[in-house]
Symmetry: D2
Subunit: 136 residues, 4 copies
């Protein structure tokens, strides 16, 4: 039986040692929209400060990389190296969880571009990312 794209990405994410600590959770894969949705539950050890629940900027960047990679990998059914990534921090990423939606903007023969939007549990945009991957 053929593995679904959802299962392929979930397994791809689960096999990564860093993810076993970070615990990003694959929520959805949409082939029509070329997008994936990843949830990250906020825990104190992901934080920037002992006083607040704000995610560390490096964790925000990591989540953008993870969701972007998943969106590109879902299209080509294999892991893809990241060429480069831009992250824009818009608001503190706090609350109970962060939802990342990554969408393939251009699926190229060699290089693909993915946009990622991170929202908090109030559905406010907290960060956006844009990354290119070698998909050829």
């Amino acid at each position: 039986m053929t593995e679904s794209t959802f299962d392929f990405i979930r397994n791809n994410m689960a096999g990564t040692p860093f993810h076993q600590w970070l615990l990003p959770e694959l929520v959805a894969v949409s082939d029509e929209e070329s997008s994936v949705t990843v949830r990250l539950v906020i825990r104190p050890e992901l934080g920037n400060s002992a006083e607040r629940t704000d995610l560390h900027g490096g964790i925000v960047a990591a989540l953008i990389d993870i969701a972007g990679h998943a969106a590109a990998a879902a299209k080509v059914r294999h892991s893809v190296p990241t060429i480069d990534m831009r992250v824009d921090y818009l608001r503190p990423a706090n609350g109970t969880e962060i939802i990342a939606v990554a969408t393939v903007v251009k699926l190229g023969r060699t290089i693909s571009l993915v946009d990622t939007r991170l929202t908090n549990d109030q559905n406010k945009l907290v960060a956006v990312g844009r990354a290119s991957y070698v998909t050829g």
Copy 2:
């Protein structure tokens, strides 16, 4: 007695919950060169794969954010919000440790720019980052 800039940055880094897991180590602060040096020892749980020691791309991005923040904070003696960051992945970040050297390119009244270079234990450049911070 006045706290040295090195101690200020070391304490600033130590107080961050995420760092207590990641364990970035402040090696040097140079006021003349407007730079800081941060070492990250590679551990399996920071990895991208169970088979290799390659750091996860999100950890590479986090290290760039941490070193860049330290370089900017060393100039103004307080924490500074990241506006945005670009990361370029050049080679797998593997071996025993990664050294990040972050240098303030422009210290502005409102906004500052920092460049960061990551090298492996063979002194090969594995990634570069560029980030802007609110320093005003």
Copy 3:
């Protein structure tokens, strides 16, 4: 009588010496969508090659800067300095004209972020841009 936002942006664009050669044309300003639309007619002297109509990559970047600036300036009613800009080139920008739609992603007290999409006369996406501006 109050000058409309459309007229303010049109006049702001018209007063720029470089624009008098490039000839970007303001098509629309939408306050609800926080967006502006700018058209650029492709001329041979904007090109990358004598053989094709492809816009030069520098002209693509300039159009992204112009449309992004207009979207941010429309919100605050004054010119705004660009902090930084990312441009991703997706396809050759050729045909008869390029349409740029720039949308404010976040209007901040100090810093704002704008996304810009460039499409050709076949409505194909040729480039995307993301830029931050000092709006405070």
Copy 4:
């Protein structure tokens, strides 16, 4: 007789219609340093304002694209498509001329990264750029 790299880049730049208006001038090519130097004389029609000599941000971006392309093309001896570019604006780019020095940071089999620094006639850094090119 073999065409020198300097002559190859100079001819490559001269054949571009947009350059015949912009007039970027190739000053030097260094194979050892993997760098090229390009001069742009500031003229009123490149400006952002009728009152000052500040270069338009789009012209700054174009110069970064041109110098970056030249540095990458000098290594592989053919034109190379730009994947993406980041531009950081540090100071107004004014005075009599701007000097762009572009250096290849990583020459990859498929993708290469180039850093570009722009200085004014007082040798002050006015902008930096970072762009990736398909060199494979």
